[in-house]
Symmetry: C2
DNA sequence: GGGTACCACGTACGATGTACGGCGATATGC
DNA sequence: GCATATCGCCGTACATCGTACGTGGTACCC
């Protein structure tokens, strides 16, 4: 890290995220709006990876000097929070998670989250474990909770259920992206890979003891080459989670 | 990014991970072993965060010049792979996942992974979605698969099950760490937080529409302050996953 | 109109990963 | 036993990062 992240004032971050204008403005007005900042930053991240989201580049995209960006955000972390929350705002444009039954709605939650990170792959490089508490995440959280409201779960269980489904969807998307990336950068098929690494693999004596890993790994590898493999893994976990919740509702 | 990660030769990475010596060595021998490199790097990462794992620092800890480290690893990514695989080697020192029944063993898999990332928190900052294919991860994968071998699942289902449990355990650990970090850096209780942010929160008009988020969020927040909250979230997901697999075994 | 608070910006610092080239030791081929 | 090709090691340099600091100009309040 170049310089340890400077401390943030949480209240200022909240005001930025929610667009609360500070009343007493003595000097000149800011020439850009926080929404413009967020849009420019999302555009940069979408075009490349999260690495493309540098303070210098975002400032340049806004037609500002580098340090001027610091009058909008306190930090780079602040900027990332702004961008993440902005992206979350795209979810559920209908204003609700569609679906007639709660299992359908949970599946839709997973599908929507996967679609979001496919549109914005850099989201997978951000630590989403910490809450942002902006309008986008709050709305997302609210709508996803409503998907499992009134089905017989307690409040804490509702939170845990939504968290479980979303984190499973993101993990599956992350693995799908990793597999895609390996296939792209290596640029070789599985056969070519085995051929290239055969001399090394043969020199590994212990390999013969990992029989289950070899058997299952090759089976999973072949399945992964089949179309819809990513959605198959997503579907397996989703099916188990939903069945597990049904079991909980049946025997509370 | 300073310089776009230089390309890697996968075969060389494999040889490094498995400790395969290259036969034709004309010049002088390396003065350190790959295991020493891994130990030094793990020590640095354990002492701080993943940021502490810089090429300069690892080289210095080994008593080497910075660029000499590049005769051991091709890349920083290579170094990270080495370190991750080394850490994975600590898992299951008994040589098997303990437990009499497969649900017990799956719980043990989750517990062991959580314990591992508590000992090495920097693991949570590494993208573990892409496979490393070193001895540590191969052994881990093999032992975890054996925990659900011969219970009636197909090969692909075994893979998906283990992946689901591990990724859930890691996600829960990540959220636990994030909550701990927020509590530490803010240094204030929940009451103090609400008081500090009350003026901002009152200015947010839309907040009143997010009734479910407010209700569940505060309930989850209070539960989070209770001891064992992290393990409670872990346990909820584990229970749902296991129940879901039982349902699958009952109705295949 | 004077004072003051705030936006914008240029410069500079420490940190990162790594490309490049030179030096010196060493194990092999004769 | 010796020449030489090879490889470990390292110093320097470059682009890039986040951001601390200081300066100048601008718009509002009294």
């Amino acid at each position: 890290m170049p310089a340890p992240t400077s401390p943030r004032d949480p209240a200022r971050t909240l005001a930025l995220l929610w667009g609360v204008a500070t009343p007493g403005a003595r000097g000149p007005q800011q020439s850009r709006t926080p929404a413009e900042v967020a849009r420019a930053a999302v555009g940069l991240a979408d075009a490349g990876t999260l690495e493309a989201l540098s303070m210098r580049r975002v400032a340049a995209a806004l037609g500002l000097g580098t340090m001027s960006l610091y009058t909008y955000v306190q930090n780079k972390d602040d900027l990332v929070d702004l961008v993440v929350d902005h992206a979350y705002g795209e979810l559920y444009p209908q204003g609700a998670v569609p679906g007639d039954t709660w299992p359908e709605r949970l599946r839709e939650v997973a599908r929507a989250n996967v679609a979001l990170v496919e549109r914005h792959p850099w989201l997978l490089d951000v630590d989403l474990a910490r809450p942002v508490l902006g309008p986008g995440e709050t709305r997302k959280y609210d709508l996803e909770l409503r998907a499992v409201d009134d089905v017989g779960l307690g409040d804490v269980e509702m939170d845990a259920t939504v968290t479980l489904v979303v984190s499973h969807a993101l993990a599956a998307a992350r693995r799908a992206r990793a597999a895609r990336l390996v296939a792209e950068t290596s640029g070789q098929t599985d056969d070519e890979w085995w051929e290239a690494n055969a001399p090394v693999l043969e020199a590994i004596a212990d390999m013969s003891t990992y029989t289950v890993a070899a058997r299952v790994g090759s089976a999973a590898g072949e399945a992964q080459q089949a179309p819809y493999s990513a959605s198959a893994e997503l579907e397996f976990g989703l099916g188990r989670i939903i069945a597990g919740i049904e079991a909980l509702l049946a025997h509370p």
